[in-house]
């Protein structure tokens, strides 16, 4: 039964992710992306990582994609132009994709990289767990301990990166705002 569900949801995820890249209508693309995210959340559920699944739906399918749709609708970018990428971009994309695929294949078939036996499922944090020795459990508590102890630095650095990105966006948009005499116009190609 879980096998069947796994294949179902991974097919759904991959198919809709593929459709995102080929759909010409931006709203269609966004909808496929939502389906892809939800499919991924279902895969997390099958792995009994309910917390991750909920966050996946809450943050990506629920908030980020609403923002995407908002931008698409606000700029009326529904009917996007077909842009032919130049040769350099095409070549770079091909090489990057090939590298990614070969890396994935290597990891999948390299016996040393992935554990061949499934890990036992732990639902409760054991009493003797310490800050440096946190077992991976499915409860949301273990995520909290992990994030705020062992992975504190990456967590903070990620947050800092996001802050930089946000400030960068604000600075960029402000510059457009004050450069010309005309009121600000978003510099995005309209159809």
């Amino acid at each position: 039964m879980p096998d069947f569900l796994f294949y179902l949801f991974s097919a759904l995820t991959v198919l809709s992710a593929f459709l995102v890249t080929v759909s010409r209508n931006a709203v269609n693309g966004a909808m496929y992306m939502i389906v892809s995210f939800v499919g991924m959340a279902a895969l997390f559920v099958l792995l009994e990582a309910y917390f991750l699944a909920a966050l996946q739906v809450l943050v990506y399918a629920g908030a980020v994609m609403v923002l995407f749709l908002f931008i698409i609708m606000l700029l009326d970018a529904g009917k996007g132009r077909t842009v032919r990428p130049d040769r350099l971009t095409t070549a770079a994309a091909c090489i990057g994709g090939l590298l990614l695929i070969s890396g994935l294949i290597y990891i999948t078939f390299d016996s040393g990289a992935a554990p061949s036996t499934p890990l036992p499922v732990i639902t409760e944090l054991p009493e003797n767990a310490t800050a440096t020795n946190i077992p991976f459990t499915t409860s949301s508590r273990s995520f909290g301990y992990g994030l705020f102890t062992k992975y504190m630095l990456p967590f903070q650095v990620t947050g800092f990166l996001l802050l930089i990105a946000m400030i960068g966006v604000i600075v960029l948009s402000k510059r457009i705002d004050s450069s010309g005499d005309e009121p600000a116009k978003p510099r995005i190609a309209k159809s």
Binding site: L58, A61, V66, A131
Partner: protein, 387 residues
């Protein structure tokens, strides 16, 4: 498949069907309640004519039921079902037909993790819930945030300007208030997990049991207020019904909808409202706890009289919970007919400039308070995980 598994699945399906039927009935009768409350506030009496041929003839009760408008939702539903359902020529047909379903389904899905009462086995209280998962509140937030796609996609698919505006406004409003909503409930879970040793996690049942001494709405009034305001915004209720605002946008996102599809949107809104009220009751109003017992020994019967009454107590706990929820549904309507609609920029200002900072401040303040309480009273009881 083994027969036990099939039986188990059948039982679950049966319970799910019961939940759906109950919630949908509540949604339908909320529509009636809305009309009644609107009438009362405006000095009228509301729908009191619809009569079922057989049942209205019952002496004494029959005329009373008619006067209360009990049969009105039936008539409305039948009307929606049998009206002609035209699809305008200029719409995107797939999304146009899909949108009402997308609006309704998340509202109905959230109730899976909603505990509605408790039963006691061997002195241990268990929640009456379809799926008692560890991350109840996250599940509700996640799934109900998908409901906005119904509105956005409906507005986009209708392919005319007012629905389009409605869709845009809805998406912007949803982003703005989801943040404040999510942050305003953090103090609740800090409290539920902080001083009491126990399961931890984000389960809603845990929140209810942690409120036996004091309902959280009483000593966390600011988070409760922020959550309530965000709830109004998330359910598109006045004074935040930006996507609909009939005075500016005709009908907003459902301008091009009619008949049963409109009915689905409509019931979806009320289902959201019922679920939202239930969540508020659980988080801030003590769920099915009878009255706060202020942590006094010997007064436990005041907060939890249900566990002493067997199965009858379970039924009473569910009824008490429903009564609290219904009060909040009424509160939604009461506010609707009291406050005028905010302007769009006011909505955005309120969300970003007041509610989000206030929610952040609440997190810090309550974290501080709960930490101090922890240090002062309950250190030896918390499981020693951090050395």
């Amino acid at each position: 498949m083994p027969p036990e598994l099939i039986a188990d699945i059948l039982w679950k399906v049966l319970f799910a069907v019961i939940f759906v039927v109950v919630i949908m009935t509540f949604a339908a009768y909320s529509v009636l309640a809305e009309r009644k409350v609107a009438s009362w506030i405006q000095g009228r009496v509301g729908p009191n004519r619809t009569a079922l041929p057989g049942l209205s003839a019952i002496p004494v009760i029959g005329p009373h039921l008619v006067k209360m408008g009990i049969w009105q939702p039936l008539a409305d539903g039948v009307k929606f079902l049998f009206k002609e359902d035209p699809i305008p020529g200029h719409v995107n047909k797939l999304y146009y037909c899909l949108a009402p379903a997308i609006a309704l389904i998340p509202a109905l899905t959230t109730m899976v993790v909603l505990p509605v009462g408790q039963y006691t086995v061997d002195g241990i209280a268990h929640p009456i819930v379809l799926a008692n998962i560890d991350i109840g509140i996250l599940f509700i937030l996640a799934v109900s945030s998908l409901g906005v796609y119904g509105i956005v996609i409906g507005g986009w698919a209708a392919n005319s300007k007012y629905p389009y505006f409605g869709g845009i406004r809805s998406s912007a409003q949803m982003i703005s208030y989801e943040l404040a909503m999510g942050m305003s409930i953090l103090p609740v879970f800090m409290w539920a997990n902080g001083t009491e040793p126990g399961l931890g996690g984000l389960s809603l049942f845990n929140v209810v049991t942690s409120q036996q001494a004091m309902w959280l709405g009483v000593w966390m009034p600011v988070p409760a207020f922020i959550f309530l305001t965000a709830l109004f915004a998330e359910t598109n209720r006045l004074p935040f019904d930006m996507p609909e605002s009939e005075t500016e946008l005709v009908g907003g996102f459902h301008t091009e909808y009619g008949s049963f599809k409109f009915g689905l949107f409509f019931v979806g809104e009320y289902a959201h409202m019922v679920i939202g009220s239930a969540v508020f009751t659980i988080l801030f109003l003590g769920g099915w706890n009878f009255l706060p017992d202020f942590g006094i020994d010997g007064l436990e019967w005041l907060s939890d009289p249900w566990s002493r009454m067997g199965w009858f107590g379970s039924v009473l706990s569910v009824l008490y919970f429903i009564a609290k929820t219904m009060f909040f549904v009424f509160f939604f309507m009461w506010v609707r007919w009291t406050l005028p609609r905010f302007r769009y920029d006011q909505v955005m200002n309120l969300g970003w400039k007041y509610l989000v900072p206030a929610a952040l401040a609440c997190i810090f303040i309550y974290a501080l308070i709960i930490g101090l309480i922890d240090i002062a009273f309950a250190v030896e009881e918390t499981p020693a995980i951090v050395q």
